[in-house]
Symmetry: C2
Subunit: 639 residues, 2 copies
């Protein structure tokens, strides 16, 4: 039977009251997406992440049995929305756990968390030479004795002020040039943009408008999109803003989103979402700072390879599939308007270059921002997010790898894992009396555990002797140990009338250990390949929203980070946007980023002979080889 001839049913979602008509047999998760309702989903609708639960208040549906629902949940008509098919009109309640709204500008602590950058990587080592600059020209008008054509006259005047051996002017602008020069008495402000070796005249305005030259630096994260509004003339950041990546409806990690886009031919939709997010940020920043959108002349984006591909609508399918390559690592500057970004219609969009399918331009930006490529000593750069990218190197060589251990620290595959939002447990200490001290984001009642809280939990369970070196919950009479659907679990906070209990299960612990093992094994492969020992490391940079909040000693204790002196470890925050901003403000920095990307040696761990061994060895707390963790073994491993 054709879709169009199927019976149509109305689904009403509470508490929003939003309604949508769908054909018989439609999947509830997709119905919610169509209605514009955000439901968490990590697996992208395959029925195994268990995040997309909703409550059926009324109506008929069909669903498969699943181990991801407790008997209580089944009794209360909770279903996995991705597994439920509509068979009648329905009323659905969306639980509060899904309250994260897409396209909502992040406020307060969240915005702060993602947009701030420690000042220590802010000072420039590159001269101020923005990718797009404005130059005021006072030309002498032509006379019968000095009859240089307008186009050449303009170029001569520009070259008196800047080094621009190769120049070009868009055709439409060239057509307007003469009338514009005449009407402004040959006193104009030209906006010139760098396109590789070429300097392009992108705008000509009457009079002196040099002060009005703004741009946006953007970090395209899988979860969060961050934008900084920059005054290019003064070389200062005016304002910052962040939003959730609204592609999140189609899967929490980018692999899921690529699959979704392939299965639903939704590449355009993916692009629209991310472009809208960027536009929302731009409009918010520009409105708040009273900057005319026409005075935004450039945007520089850094992000993982998939995000850059989605933004530009390049084919991303082989990022997830053999031979695991990008369509383009280097992307030439294009007009921002070509992808729908709402800055000056002739303004330029620059994407920082990436290295490989799993080492994107966010990592290149990080290397640029931390300047490890200028140092004699060896540095380690770690960005722990969905993947966990690692760079090891110095001014002479750079290596990189990406662990695909899964995003457990982002909450995936962890029963009460969640992103760093209000109510997320971000710090946790198990006191000697067995009681637990918690810190939640926004000081709210705990609703789940975010990355830094999960790391604390694992480390505390280990250092307090509640789990053994393989991660097994010991059967030692701990009062917080209970049996759940998934076997043994450890209660972090109890249920009350309004809140559910929060536990960490044995499978959660196993997932977290696999994640940390992936990160450490990647580091180990790079160190082995370059014959670098922990004591050779001059600095360890921890980047990303998660990296900024974790407890470093605990990360060493569980064997995620190598055992180096704590003073060598530095939180560097969002180095992706720091690098993007560096590039925005200096053409030389973009050239340097291109050299970094080109010169970095990528280790494909999946095909690397020793990665699996290293991964297996790292699947212990802290590691099978305790000599790698002297500070940990000395204190705790006698247990």
């Amino acid at each position: 039977m054709e879709e169009s001839k199927k019976k149509q049913y109305t689904i009403r979602f509470e508490p929003s009251g939003l309604k949508i008509k769908v054909p018989s047999g439609a999947v509830l998760l997709e119905a919610a997406h169509k209605a514009g309702i955000y439901l968490s989903s990590i697996c992208g609708g395959d029925g195994y992440c268990g995040k997309c639960k909703v409550i059926i208040d009324a109506g008929q549906f069909q669903s498969k049995p699943t181990a991801l629902l407790t008997p209580d949940e089944v009794r209360e008509n909770v279903v996995l929305s991705c597994q439920a098919k509509v068979l009648s009109d329905m009323t659905i309640t969306v639980p509060k756990s899904h309250t994260l709204e897409t396209s909502q500008i992040l406020m307060d602590s969240d915005a702060h968390r993602f947009s701030e950058l420690p000042s220590k990587v802010r000072e420039g080592i590159f001269e101020h030479d923005p990718l797009v600059r404005k130059i005021y020209l006072e030309m002498s008008p032509p006379t019968v004795h000095e009859h240089t054509a307008d186009h050449e006259r303009l170029y001569l005047a520009i070259r008196e002020q800047i080094d621009a051996p190769i120049m070009q002017t868009g055709f439409r602008l060239l057509q307007k040039l003469s009338r514009l020069l005449q009407s402004s008495d040959y006193k104009v402000t030209v906006t010139v943009g760098r396109r590789g070796e070429t300097t392009e005249v992108i705008q000509i305005e009457p009079g002196n408008r040099c002060e009005k030259n703004f741009a946006v630096a953007v970090d395209l994260g899988t979860t969060t999109v961050v934008a900084h509004l920059v005054d290019l003339t003064k070389a200062i950041t005016i304002d910052t803003e962040a939003t959730y990546n609204s592609q999140i409806n189609f899967g929490e990690d980018y692999i899921r989103r690529i699959i979704y886009a392939e299965e639903h031919d939704a590449f355009d939709e993916m692009q629209n979402r991310i472009v809208n997010d960027v536009n929302n940020l731009i409009v918010t920043l520009a409105t708040r700072q009273k900057v005319d959108l026409q005075d935004l002349n450039a945007i520089v984006c850094a992000g993982n390879t998939a995000m850059i591909h989605f933004l530009l609508n390049l084919d991303p399918t082989r990022i997830r599939r053999e031979p695991y390559i990008a369509s383009a690592g280097f992307v030439p500057p294009i007009r921002a308007a070509e992808v729908g970004i709402q800055i000056n219609k002739r303004g330029l969009l620059y994407c920082l270059p990436g290295v490989a399918a799993y080492i994107g331009s966010d990592i290149v930006a990080g290397v640029l921002a931390t300047r490890i490529f200028t140092q004699k000593g060896i540095s380690l750069f770690i960005d722990i997010g969905t993947n966990g990218e690692v760079v090891l190197g110095n001014k002479e060589w750079l290596t990189c790898a990406s662990s695909s251990a899964g995003p457990a620290f982002e909450g995936s595959g962890v029963k009460h894992g969640m992103r760093a939002g209000a109510g997320a447990i971000e710090k946790l200490t198990i006191l000697d009396d067995g009681s637990i001290e918690l810190k939640t984001i926004g000081e709210k009642h705990p609703v789940g555990i975010c990355g830094s809280g999960l790391l604390d939990t694992l480390a505390e369970l280990f250092t307090k002797g509640i789990i053994d070196r393989t991660g097994r919950l010991k059967d030692n009479g701990q009062p917080r140990l209970t049996e759940g659907n998934e076997g043994r679990q450890f209660q972090i906070s109890a249920a009350d009338n309004e809140h559910h209990e929060i536990v960490i299960t044995q499978p959660d612990i196993d997932n977290l250990i696999r994640s940390k093992a992936g990160v450490f094994a990647s580091i180990k492969v790079l160190m082995e390949a370059t014959q670098t020992k922990a004591e050779d490391l001059d600095a360890v940079y921890l980047a990303g929203g998660f990296g900024n909040f974790l407890n470093i000693q605990q990360a060493v204790n569980i064997g995620m980070l190598p055992d180096v002196q704590l003073e060598k470890m530095r939180f560097v925050g969002n180095t992706s946007i720091a690098g993007a901003k560096t590039v925005l403000l200096s053409r030389k920095a973009l050239e340097t980023a291109e050299k970094i990307a080109e010169g970095m040696t990528y280790f494909d761990l999946m095909s690397h002979p020793s990665y699996m061994d290293e991964f297996t060895r790292a699947n212990f707390l802290p590691h099978t080889d305790l000599s790698l963790f002297p500070s940990v073994s000395a204190v705790k491993c006698e247990m």
Copy 2:
């Protein structure tokens, strides 16, 4: 009263039968243009060239008296269509003298006249390196061990075959790249175009299509547009074609057209006309040679500065007005589609660079084609058309000037002057018995006199003693001398039942002498400025449709060309298209053309201190200073 409320009248034009409705008071010339009917007009509708005559068969009109109509013509209801206003429905007969149809492809002798190029400038001195070339690439597909991204893989493969340090790819093409490479198993033909130092990938096709790479070279003349279809792979001209420039409705010289465009805001219309002419030529050539328009990847245009401005819709108004400058001398390559030229939609349009408002890229093309910039000896290059551009120089220096003496040799300001069309007298000899031997184009009955015929006429009148050294018709009893409306005149052919008489009047002769004086004075200014004597000249190149057919000795006799040995004089035909084609086939040639344009010293004659004196001296036959014309004075000037 609003135009739209005026009474509408129908005008019917015979013999075509074309009809058009116009409001009361409409000008007949404009009505004809709107109906798509070509009426000659040199003055652009100002009522003083007398070329736009039509016969009123029926209907009411209003017109001013004019001396340009004979009493016979007035009796026969002949009017100047530019001066006649419509007051009723009308029927109009368009005389045969207007039979030149616009946009009609020139055939036979005419096409031959404008499109052929003597082989002596054809052999290349530049290596074969076309501006747009196709390269077949067999890349090895990516593997998990060799994971270069598609975009970089493509660049590496291209750089294995050509020198392309700076490359770019259009964004839309980049978006399609990965799918295209996969579906063609990484065996593709790329089309790369040169944009200055940058090599742009403009097309990617599956398989090997290197043989299908064609382009068009175009000479944009004020009167005639000529196109050559070139096989870029084989470096041969496949076919040639020419058409009249259909802007001619708006004035025969480009200054008139600029005025018309300004007064009627008709810049878009001017562009449409010339673009349509080019498209007609392209389609004719491609159809005849069975070349797919999609396989035309480039077009190179040369032309005077005004024509290039009209083509690109750049502001041409200051070409005719102080400070007499171009909007752009150098024009960057653009997509041909941006101006509406119907080749491959990503194909490139190159315009050769011009030097000044009155020294266009056709002259630069001529210098390139004749190679005078490579010679140790000094050459003189003359292109006699509407203006009469002159270049003097060698490998070390190049000077140029343009005489604005008026287009008398193109028929303007000459009672029976006409363009080189069927029936035009192109050769003329006055025999000793006073009878006249004529040769007309197409062996037709004479209907007028074209450039080479006018030159013969002037020279014969002078050398046969019918006019004196000031050009005055002698009152010596010549039977062909009569009195006309404009005073004394010389009859060339008598009227019969079907044909009007053809005469040359005293004002005609004065105009022709002024024209030749302008050319010679320009040459003289350049020679004086560079201290070049006639005997220093190694070669004199005569370019252009007119140059190709004139009698050189006669041109020396009247003092238009300097008195050098005839064997040093060479007809070089259409060097504008020869230069355009040279550029099409060699990137180095384009760079050379740019250097020529940049390095040429332009003499603005109007502001030059000695030009007027030189012009006055040249207003004699052959000159006031007979020592400059030893071969002439020795034989003829004793008279």
